[in-house]
Point group: C2
Chain length 215, copies 2
Amino acid sequence: VSHSSRPPRKISDSTVRRLSSYLRLLQEVDDSTADTISSDELARRAGTTSAQVRKDLSFFGSFGKRGLGYSIPELLSALRAILGLTQTWNVAVVGAGKIGSALISYRDFRKRGFDVRAVFDSDPAKVGRPWGSRRVLSDEHLEEVIRKDGIEIVILAVPAEAAQGMLDRLVGAGVKAVLNFAPVRLSAPEAVALRNVDMAMELEVLSYALSNPSE
Amino acid sequence: VSHSSRPPRKISDSTVRRLSSYLRLLQEVDDSTADTISSDELARRAGTTSAQVRKDLSFFGSFGKRGLGYSIPELLSALRAILGLTQTWNVAVVGAGKIGSALISYRDFRKRGFDVRAVFDSDPAKVGRPWGSRRVLSDEHLEEVIRKDGIEIVILAVPAEAAQGMLDRLVGAGVKAVLNFAPVRLSAPEAVALRNVDMAMELEVLSYALSNPSE
DNA sequence: ATATGTGAACATTTTCACAGCT
DNA sequence: AGCTGTGAAAATGTTCACATAT
């Protein structure tokens, strides 16, 4: 009995991240081996505890069968529904520098339901450059293309100085979700989902760990 | 009166990340404007609260002056000491694909005390390729170069299937800190600091947010 | 007057432990 | 017997509020 993806309270970030990792793990499971998986097994693979797995899922419904575990296909589709992955999302990359260019062709994105449909840059030297069967667009056309192509998520990979200005334009154009790679704190309206990937910060956390062993 | 960087208890990940963000913000502050900064001002810029700033710092010592705030140069050097950034760390990038290549020349790394000294790949087509004044090395020489160059931190940017095998080699060669970009859960001994950057997961968190507005 | 440092209160997240299905 | 779903307990993280110092 599974009441698929009921509207929940307020779900923590860490829960959502774990749900994403459960989904990835299940997609990798050799489904010829078993049709079903226990919270214990899933926890082992995800590096967490079985109670955590069950609690995370319980916020959204009852997807398992007592005494048996979770049907892998059912859990897969439940997780996809929860995470909003029953649709393909239209993505644009803004900034065709080193990192932006690397992300454009990141195969994992498409594989997991994110379709990069446009790439923008403000540098005339980069505008017109081919990628796949398309070309890098001038950011003059940002608002227009975002509307025309129905861009829902933007990967922001511009220099730190340009990031806030560009974010403001994106918000103005109606973008509701941004993944920012620039090492600055950005501000956006409440209604806009904004996440940051800060690689220098990650290295600094490693530096801290190296400097303070065994803690 | 500042008892610089006393050895602390167990510091949470979020505290370390905030300390890193305080450091970055202070480095950007125009120090001609003011010599001193309050927890309130720092919090405003970091997107947190003044109590949080003071608590984070208090785990390591007393760096401020009551009634005045924190001396910017003193707080800068305290944060650098806490985060282990008084030294330059020797970094290697393993995997010279799109993402690895983008990271090699990420200017922020060097600016913040991380020196990329070697790049490895297992693909003969990539080995020998120039980057800066150096060349991509074959991973045959991994262990040897790691020891010779004193590599302390590795940025792992190989395909998911190769990541665990490569991590095992890195650990064998004595590497104690790894930043993993492959979308797999890796396992390493306790003593090894391992962090993951999973861009598809970040997009899935955005997908969740888009699908569940205003929560 | 102003702003830190911190114990205590509060909030959130994780773990425990067990009743309830299959 | 086996494994889920979930309240209750424990642990962890954040905010309050104020004594303390300049």
